[in-house]
Amino acid sequence: MFKLRATILKDVQILTRDKVGLIFMFAMPIILAIVITATQNSTFELVNKNKVPMLLCSKDKGEPGKQLVNAIEKSGMFDVKKVDANETATQIADRMHKKDALIAIIIPEDFSDKIKAKARSTAAKALKNFGLGEDSTGVLNDSLQPITFMYHPVLQQSFRQSIQSSLRGALQMVQTKQVIEQMYFDVNEKQLPDTLENEFARNDIGINEVPVSRDGSKSIPTATQHNVPAWTIFAMFFIVISMGSSIVREKLNGSFIRLKTLPTNYLIALASKQFTYLTVTLLQAAVIFAIGIYLFPFLGLPKLDLPADLFGLFLVSFMCGLCAVSFATCIGVYAQTQEQCNGIGSVSIVLLAAIGGLLVPSFAMPASFQPVIKLSPLHWCLEAYYGLFLEGGSLKDIVANILPLLGITVFIQLLALYGLKRKNLI
């Protein structure tokens, strides 16, 4: 025990004197957590709270065209800036290059005529089906000309899709309104009364968001609840750079030669390193969580809410840390140079993070990737944390995530031991 204590003391002394290493282990993940959370939070707010600047050029003079403009304005998603109907697509593009707006909509000249014709055709078909008339319009050969959606290339696909959904909603509303008006006219031979029109247009049914939490909580998860656990795991595993390098450095410099000639097993050195760095990973988690709780509100970010099951949180953090130090040990044992260790270590962590769902949600990955996802220890760490932070679960709810994590950890440890034995180090 005295040997282990002396070795831990040595490792702590070396670690605390490596200022750059400490900054790398603590400051970098904190910055990462703040930056990513702030970015995701502002993206969320841009879509949901702020308005996207839009140039709107309507070349159409008809009522449906005006209804569409009105629907876009009322959607609440856009800050609409109308431009002259005579402006060309090139001129609008020039405005966008000057960052007047990130998106632009051009409504074609015959938009109203075409949409009315389509409404007449649809209404006639519907009435014929109801047995109230004949379809006298025949087949409508002239298809609707699309409206043009121009966007700045910096706009990401997911963001564009969100805008397109909103536009489709507005278009659908105009089209439906036209069909109803036409059907009413065909049946009653008079215009749809405003009161009835408003009744049709009114959207009475809201959407009630209900997060399916295990503890019955109805609080909506924020960018902080998503990001802080994910980047804590990333920080823990990035310890591979510091710890792996420490093992490689010890192997390469003369101290290792002396250690091999002393009456003590090298496993004590590894046990000490694992204990020391496991403590570091737990400190990392504590610091990042504390920053989520106390600093984020000052930065205008949502506060981190800790799960109710604090023992579960500790156990998951402990298991993540243990897996991270096991992985670092394995890389350190097999790497022959510090360059190898740093390169393999950092690239493998980014890869494991990517397939583990830290960078892109794992449910969004292709089906062919799904079996691979389960091989990443970071996936199980994330699932366990999400079980506590997002689903409001307790330890019993995340045992199914901890057991595979434990299995992977044991496998990595055995792999490291095999490497040590093969290299005659133990």
Binding site: K3, L9, K10, Q13, N253, R258, K260, T261, L262, P263
Partner: protein, 249 residues
């Protein structure tokens, strides 16, 4: 003086993947209390033989007994018998001499009080008391060599292996190291030393072995070998036994 500190019988060693043996049926006995020097040109097998004796390399044939104990089968218990001062700086540069001695002392099997007592003694004798709490990475080459030596002897080994213990140091540090080694030997420690500093070795070693191409060329007292080969110094004896051609590793 007549008990064997190191007894090598029929040693056979070959590096993995190499066609030829480094040693084949090599035998050598070093008596307890001797100041023994192992010399030879580059690539002769000095470091390999020392690595086999200290357990850094695992030999395939024969036996090496340290103070009567077969090294191969009792590696860790045999390790407490000897000390090793490698050519490379074998310590943690980020730590102070006291911290290094505390760690290596524990790994050598000493208890806390003993480590502290021995550390202070050693640092005093080797002229490092003033810098005992400063990080070793700021030390000169000579100071680092003395730290390297202090760590190797903290557990008061009965056999001390020294691989180029004074390479790259100034006269004062070299003198301090050699004097300390002599004092250790006076107290009964067997010194097994290898170096290319032949004039220094001549002043330290009483018995030598000359090795080349994995074979012991001569092994006897230095004075007797000088008389036999009619040489007045170790350098002359070295050249007369190993030739003048330049060796690559």
């Amino acid at each position: 003086m007549n008990d064997a500190a190191v007894s090598i019988q029929g040693l056979g060693f070959r590096y993995p993947g190499q066609a030829a043996d480094c040693f084949s049926n090599l035998s050598l006995t070093i008596h307890a209390g001797e100041r023994f020097g192992l010399f030879g040109p580059n690539g002769a097998g000095k470091t390999t033989l020392m690595s086999c004796m200290t357990g850094l390399l695992e030999y395939q044939q024969g036996s090496i007994r340290l103070a009567g104990h077969e090294a191969k089968h009792h590696r860790k218990s045999v390790n407490s018998i000897f000390g090793f001062v490698p050519q490379d700086f074998s310590f943690y540069q980020e730590l102070t001499p006291m911290e290094n001695l505390a760690f290596f002392g524990a790994w050598s099997g000493l208890q806390k009080d003993k480590i502290k007592k021995r550390s202070l003694e050693l640092l005093e004798v080797l002229g490092l008391s003033d810098v005992k709490d400063k990080q070793v990475q700021k030390f000169s080459g000579g100071m680092k060599r003395r730290v390297n030596l202090a760590i190797g002897v903290i557990h008061e080994p009965s056999i001390l292996f020294l691989d180029e213990p004074t390479v790259g140091v100034d006269v004062h540090s070299r003198q301090a190291i050699i004097n300390y080694l002599r004092s250790l030997n006076d107290k009964g420690t067997t010194l097994i030393y290898t170096s290319h500093q032949l004039s220094e070795a001549e002043g330290l070693c009483e018995t030598i072995a000359m090795i080349d191409a994995g074979k012991i060329l001569v092994h006897d007292s230095l004075n007797k070998l000088l008389d036999e080969h009619k040489e007045d110094g170790l350098e002359g004896l070295f050249i007369s036994l190993t030739g003048k051609s330049i060796r690559n590793e």
